[in-house]
């Protein structure tokens, strides 16, 4: 199995996740807009994928046997850019072009603009279907790749997610792994108030999925779940990752004001201190 770099240990991944979080707050500050909250909640899972679990090659982003990652909640793309830059898909210096004219780092992921971005997302609900198509195509060709799709917990209010969930189980797409970033918030407020999505574990189970229920910030659990999910069991797997929106920056944690708002310069400094 070709794998980019040496697989990081859990303590190394924890440091990497912190580094990615620093990139996120800096990028969003430089852009003057963006979505820090949902990027920070996803940071540990994304770090584990890019620096331990996924087989991929930043020097060859179209390598047919690579694993795929789709950020279906496309507004959290800053964390993906941060991981890609650190992994070597493009220079870290390019991160500050986020959301600016002529940048490859579009406000939401654009597959045609940036090699390594697997799907264009940002209209919520679409990523799981695209990932299922990839999983079916890869299986037809006898490739062993795994497709990971990260969903937001607000995002699963979209009906298309459940169309894809039903179809993935029907087609026994066991090379497809969904990760639900269960940070309990959506744009307008807590999911429990806006649109209750519980019981999420029961819902996925009822749709025929294998469910792994984890603390999405406990790196050991994250790595273990992502690796266990690669087993071919005849069912797709969903990892329900319980997370904290804004994780790692005290004043952003569980503060939905930072769903889609950039920090001020002072706030940035404080965030970088906390993430040092």
């Amino acid at each position: 199995m070709a794998q980019f770099g040496p697989a990081q240990t859990v303590p190394e991944l924890e440091q990497t996740a912190k580094q990615l979080r620093r990139h996120v707050v800096r990028m969003v500050f430089e852009a003057g807009s963006g979505h820090p909250g949902g990027s920070l909640s996803a940071a540990d899972v994304v770090a584990a994928l890019y620096f331990r679990v996924m087989k991929h090659d930043p020097a060859s982003p179209t390598w047919p046997d690579r694993d795929r990652f789709i950020m279906s909640k496309g507004h959290a793309v800053p964390i993906v850019y941060a991981a890609m830059a650190e992994a070597g898909y493009f220079p870290v210096s390019e991160l500050t072009t986020l959301r600016k004219l002529n940048s490859r780092l579009q406000g939401h992921p654009s597959a045609k603009d940036l090699p390594g971005i697997e799907a264009s997302t940002g209209s919520l609900g679409q990523g799981l279907s695209i990932g299922l198509g990839m999983a079916l195509g890869l299986r037809m060709d006898g490739r062993s790749s795994t497709v990971y799709v990260m969903l937001g917990d607000g995002e699963i209010e979209e009906g298309q997610v459940w169309e894809a969930a039903m179809a993935a189980a029907h087609y026994k797409a066991d090379n497809l792994v969904a990760i639900l970033d269960r940070n309990r918030f959506q744009l307008d407020g807590p999911t429990a108030e806006i649109m209750e999505v519980e019981p999420v574990v029961d819902k996925w189970r009822a749709f025929g999925w294998r469910v792994l229920d984890i603390d999405g910030h406990a790196m050991q659990q994250v790595v273990h779940a992502l690796e266990v999910a690669r087993e071919r069991t005849g069912r797709p797997t969903v990892i329900v990752a319980h997370t904290i929106k804004g994780k790692g920056v005290s004043y952003m944690e569980n503060n939905n004001a930072f769903h889609g708002k950039a920090p001020t310069r002072e706030e940035l400094e404080r965030a970088l201190q906390e993430l040092a």
């Binding site: 299922l132 298309q160 894809a164 029907h170």
Partner: protein, 324 residues
């Protein structure tokens, strides 16, 4: 009228798809529980391992097709025009055309000629929707032979492609697959020097019938099968505007956003000329028999003749000038 009926363009699609499946081992086909109507069932029988029935879930189907395309497949996704284009549009926009994925969308039951099932199953807006997707090639073939060529051209073309097919048996425009079929190049199926009728889909046969009637009245009508709406054949439009005195556009679609608008835009830029339009005028249709519907909603050879005669009549004074 006089033209012999061939098979429905959706049937021709089903057969051409099997041909494409033999030519390209990476062609895969998706359907949303309508394979016996869109005729992808032919492919499902021939290549069961390359057929995916997604159930009644058009949005999911388009997303899956996009994902398949990223793995090097050539996915053809089919459903009724109204369901696929309306329920799958967000996915067409983001997952297919924005990402420039090589997905083929082939819809059946375009237009009002589907008849008795009525408005919920009739698509009068699909061509406009398809044209509003950047990079999407948009084709509306006229008969079984034209459809075969369109499907094989779509399989060979690298990029998102839309083809509209119809439910009823289609009158034959060609006696064999037109060898000169090229995406974006109109086929002149009849020459004439007074007026040019530009049509696609079922309206090409109606245009040929109209040309026969006009001939009896001493008017020579050129007929262009404009099977590709986007990219439009600007050269053919320009030549029609130079070489004949007027253009009539005929399509089984709303008058807004379809072939008429596209041709008018090209003519306005390159060579403004007198134009008339035969299309559905800002309304939905209703249940009924096909011939009755085509007559009630103004989509017959007779309507094309009347439009040609209006276009060729001496220009009237501007209404504002009359009242002044």
């Amino acid at each position: 009228m006089g033209r012999p009926l061939g098979m429905a363009t959706r049937q021709a699609y089903g057969k051409a798809l099997v041909e494409a499946g033999k030519l390209y081992p990476n062609v895969v086909v998706l359907d949303g529980d309508l394979s016996k109507s869109t005729m992808t069932a032919d492919f499902a029988k021939a290549f069961p391992d390359r057929f995916i029935n997604v159930g009644i879930a058009e949005a999911n189907m388009v997303g899956i097709a996009a994902g398949l395309a990223t793995t090097g497949k050539i996915p053809f996704a089919s459903s009724f025009a109204c369901f696929l284009m309306c329920k799958g549009y967000d996915q067409l926009r983001l997952a297919v055309t924005y990402a420039e994925n090589n997905v083929k969308i082939v819809v059946s039951h375009g237009g009002i000629s589907i008849g008795e099932d009525g408005v919920s199953q009739m698509s009068v807006e699909d061509v406009a929707l398809a044209c509003a997707l950047p990079k999407m090639v948009v084709m509306v073939p006229s008969d079984e032979h034209c459809t075969r060529q369109a499907v094989l051209a779509a399989a060979a073309h690298e990029g998102p492609t839309f083809i509209r097919t119809g439910r009823p048996k289609a009158p034959l425009v060609y006696s064999a697959p037109p060898a000169d079929f090229r995406i974006g190049k109109a086929i002149q199926v009849r020459d004439g020097s007074d007026v040019t009728i530009i049509a696609n889909g079922l309206m090409v046969a109606a245009a040929l019938d109209a040309a026969d009637i006009l001939q009896q009245r001493g008017v020579g009508a050129r007929v262009l099968d404009m099977h590709t709406v986007k990219p439009i054949d600007e050269e053919a439009v320009c030549r029609a505007a130079y070489e004949t005195r007027a253009i009539v556009v005929a399509e089984e679609h709303l008058s807004y956003g379809g072939l008429g608008g596209v041709v008018a835009q090209a003519a306005a830029r390159l060579r403004p000329t007198r134009m008339e339009f035969v299309a559905i005028d800002d309304t939905y249709a209703e249940s009924g028999d096909m011939d009755g519907l085509m007559e009630k909603y103004g989509l017959t050879a007779k309507d094309i003749v009347a439009a040609a005669e209006r276009a060729l009549a001496p220009a009237k004074a501007h209404p504002a000038a009359v009242t002044a």
